[in-house]
């Protein structure tokens, strides 16, 4: 291996590490927000339904159910957040799930359209960031 090759590999590995950090930060922020929304839905469902103008009014049980499933989804996402390169499945499923949720929230209407916008924005951002990460990781391995 020449010095130039070593420099190039070092640079691509650094690039991959940077992409990994960026992706993990983005996903980490997203999961924190998702956890916060889930907790609010579980603890104060009526308040959330009122403040977020959720369709209905639904009974508090359904809002809590929604909240707990957001929390469970965040937990199941964790392996993918910890090891995004080696544990790819949760990341892929998670990104697809965000697109699906965005469509569902749009169909639900009212205040959930803001959630749809949020999910869609993060689905696109995570998909782009994850693609960049995987490409960088691939390029770092001669």
């Amino acid at each position: 291996m020449t010095d130039a090759d070593a420099l190039t590999i070092g640079w691509t590995q650094a690039q991959a590490a940077t992409r990994r950090i960026a992706y993990r930060r983005l996903l980490g922020f997203n999961l924190i927000v998702q956890t916060a929304v889930g907790l609010i839905a579980v603890v104060v469902p009526v308040w959330l339904a009122h403040k977020a103008d959720l369709p209905g009014p639904p009974s508090s049980g359904w809002v809590q159910l929604w909240g707990v499933m957001l929390l469970i989804m965040a937990i199941l996402y964790l392996p993918g957040c910890i090891e995004p390169v080696h544990v790819r499945w949760p990341n892929v499923v998670g990104i697809v799930a965000r697109f699906v949720l965005a469509v569902a929230y749009v169909r639900l209407g009212q205040g959930l359209r803001w959630f749809a916008l949020y999910e869609l924005a993060f689905a696109v951002a995570l998909a782009w960031s994850y693609r960049q990460l995987l490409r960088a990781e691939l390029m770092s391995r001669p």
């Binding site: 209905g56 049980g61 809590q64 707990v68 499945w89 799930a97 949720l101 639900l108």
Partner: protein, 621 residues
């Protein structure tokens, strides 16, 4: 390779293999349940007995999330060794769902049971696989198996508990209007105090000889709205809810809805929130226990009578024959024994009740103190305007509490509501309804000039205690001053006050506003035309009689008739002989203890003409 090693490997493979199978089963179940729930949402909701969802997109969103979650389980199902985090998190999440649903409670526990069915065996298999993979020495394997077996038994027990909770949670019908909810909604006593519906509707047929008149439950003055079939439909004041089986239980409206006819041949009208005038609660309760004690209260008599009115499957028949009928019989007999103390006191009669002695001797477990709390049922409308007249206005005849919230809740407890079924939203709905419920305006149209003269007399003789701006309106007037029968006031003791304020039993909340003030509340006049008979114990039949000195008031009169007396105020109440009960109604004897018609002599010294004028004014309320 030794035999032991071969066995260990095959066990390891077996546990992992079963874990993977269970993971796939869970994934498939999630997807199937998700698809079915989206396609047949109302049917799935009915099957799961969960809250009705409006709009249906909420359960559909949940169903979709269940399917999306299944996607996260796939790595663990493919290779749990390579995806250990995913495998552990998948199991953890199943348990998180289970625990959360158990905490939320109600029928949502069915979702927790769904997760538990997969999560518990997955956890056990994962544990066994983990133990084997650790390469535990010989002998440890049996320890793992024992742990797994114990965990399995625990899981079966937990599942059985959850299933029991789900099966016995009340399924309550929804009511669009607050008034319908007040009349037919549940107050949280269906499971603890409700009688299975088929038995309840069969009892008047099987025990017809215990009815005062051959009119079914209408013989006790229970109210059936037009279009309702008394043979099978619930009367006003009864909820029909499913707690395991459909049950009938009383609610607030049984004592707080009146039937009134403006003339003998007029169509009956129902006024919600008014004091029930015809309902004989004691007669109804005695009928239940007498019927239960009757030789005819057997499956052989009851089941044919039930089957004539409702469809019973063979399983229903078996359940009723061997479980429910014997159980209900025992409970009704116990209820009769619990209320035996009332047999040593004057009968309540229609429109009257001893509301607090059952609470004292039953719920609060206080000793029988020989007190008599028989009193007229009370109107419960206009609670907001009471508080406008006087903040924290006293409630109940003797003002034993001044918190509307506490009175609503404690009344539900008195009617048999239990912590397990108790619903604060239901109580808040009743409170909201009663706060805003106005009394119906008087239909009487007395002579206008007489009314004007009566208004002046009212201001001079009555307004201080009964006008909206009276300085003593909605205050407790001492018994010594008002002079009315003292028994109701004596019934509520300091001991009872303290016991109720300290009463918890299964709850993390309690009361703090029960108090003891000897006397009776000076009530405002709203809805006066429907409040007869008058005074706290309903001992004076009409307003005209109330303006007479006690010695000239009727000593015995018929209660429980529903024809409004446009001339005298109140309801038509002819004199009677207590030794001979009338064909309709109940002969009320004011000479019995607790029934005294003494006191409240205000206006009795007026001239006959002045009394007529004052009465004319009172008839306008």
């Amino acid at each position: 390779m030794s035999t032991a090693t071969t066995t260990a490997h095959s066990t390891e493979d077996g546990a992992l293999r079963w874990f993977r199978r269970l993971m796939w089963a869970g994934i498939i179940a999630n997807v199937v349940v998700g698809i079915v729930s989206i396609a047949y949402t109302p049917q799935v909701l009915a099957l799961a007995k969960v809250d009705p969802a409006t709009p249906l997109v909420w359960p559909r969103l949940s169903a979709m999330l269940v399917m999306l979650l299944a996607g996260f389980y796939i790595p663990a199902a493919i290779d749990p060794c390579a995806h250990r985090f995913s495998a552990v998190f998948a199991v953890v999440c199943r348990f998180a769902g289970t625990i959360f649903m158990a905490v939320v409670g109600g029928h949502y526990i069915i979702f927790g049971l769904f997760d538990f069915v997969f999560g518990a065996p997955q956890a056990i298999c994962l544990y066994l696989a983990w133990q084997r993979m650790k390469g535990a020495p010989d002998g440890r394997a049996s320890g793992s198996t024992i742990v797994a077996l114990l965990a399995g038994l625990l899981a079966v027990g937990a599942f059985a508990w959850g299933a029991f909770q789900w099966l016995t949670q009340p399924v309550l019908p929804a009511f669009a209007s607050d008034e319908e909810f007040f009349k037919y909604g549940s107050i949280g006593n269906d499971g603890a105090g409700g009688i299975p519906y088929p038995i309840w509707i069969a009892m008047p047929d099987v025990c017809a000889h215990h009815l005062p008149r051959p009119q079914g439950y209408a013989a006790f003055g229970l109210l059936y709205e037009r279009g309702r079939n008394p043979a099978i439909d619930p009367p006003i004041g009864f909820s029909r809810a499913k707690v395991g089986v459909e049950r009938m239980a009383i609610n607030c409206a049984v004592c707080h809805t009146v039937r009134a006819r403006l003339a003998a041949d007029a169509e009956p009208q129902f006024y919600v929130g008014a004091a029930a005038n015809t309902v004989d609660i004691q007669g109804y309760l005695r009928f239940l226990s007498r019927c239960a004690a009757d030789d005819r209260f057997t499956p052989d008599h009851l089941i044919p009578a039930m089957a004539a009115k409702v469809k019973l499957s063979w399983l229903d028949r078996l359940t009723y024959r061997f479980v429910l009928i014997p159980f209900v019989r025992r409970r009704l007999l116990e209820q009769g024994e619990d209320l035996a103390w009332a047999n040593r006191r004057p009968a309540w009669g229609p429109g009257r009740i001893d509301p607090f002695n059952p609470v004292k001797f039953g719920m609060l477990h206080l000793a029988d103190d020989e007190t008599i709390g028989n009193s007229d049922m009370q109107a419960v409308w206009n609670l907001n305007s009471r508080e406008q007249i006087r903040p924290s206005a006293p409630l109940h005849w003797d003002g034993l509490n001044n918190s509307v919230r506490e009175v609503v809740i404690s009344s539900a407890l008195g009617d048999g509501a239990v912590a397990r079924e108790f619903s604060f939203p239901a109580m808040e709905r009743i409170e909201r309804f009663l706060r805003a419920l106005p009394p119906p305006p008087s239909p009487h149209r007395p002579d206008a000039a007489a009314v004007e003269r009566g208004k002046v007399l009212f201001a001079a003789n009555c307004a201080e205690c009964h006008a909206a701006d009276g300085k003593r309106t909605l205050t407790v007037i001492s018994v010594a001053e008002v002079g009315t029968d003292i028994n109701r006031s004596h019934m509520w003791t300091e001991l009872a006050r303290d016991a109720y304020n300290n009463f918890r039993e299964g709850r993390d909340w309690g009361f703090k506003s029960f108090r003891k003030i000897p006397g009776y509340v000076a009530e405002p006049l709203g809805g006066l035309w429907l409040n007869g008979p008058y005074l706290h114990n309903g001992s004076v039949p009409t307003l005209r009689d109330l303006l007479e000195p006690p010695a000239q008031r009727p000593a015995a009169f018929v209660r429980g008739l529903d024809v409004v007396d446009a001339r005298n105020g109140g309801f038509v109440a002819p004199s009677c002989d207590p030794r001979q009960q009338p064909a309709e109604g109940f002969c009320f004897d004011t000479r019995l203890v607790g029934n005294g018609n003494d006191g409240h002599v205000y206006g009795t010294a007026l001239s006959a003409a002045e009394k007529s004028d004052l009465l004319a004014y009172l008839l306008t309320f």
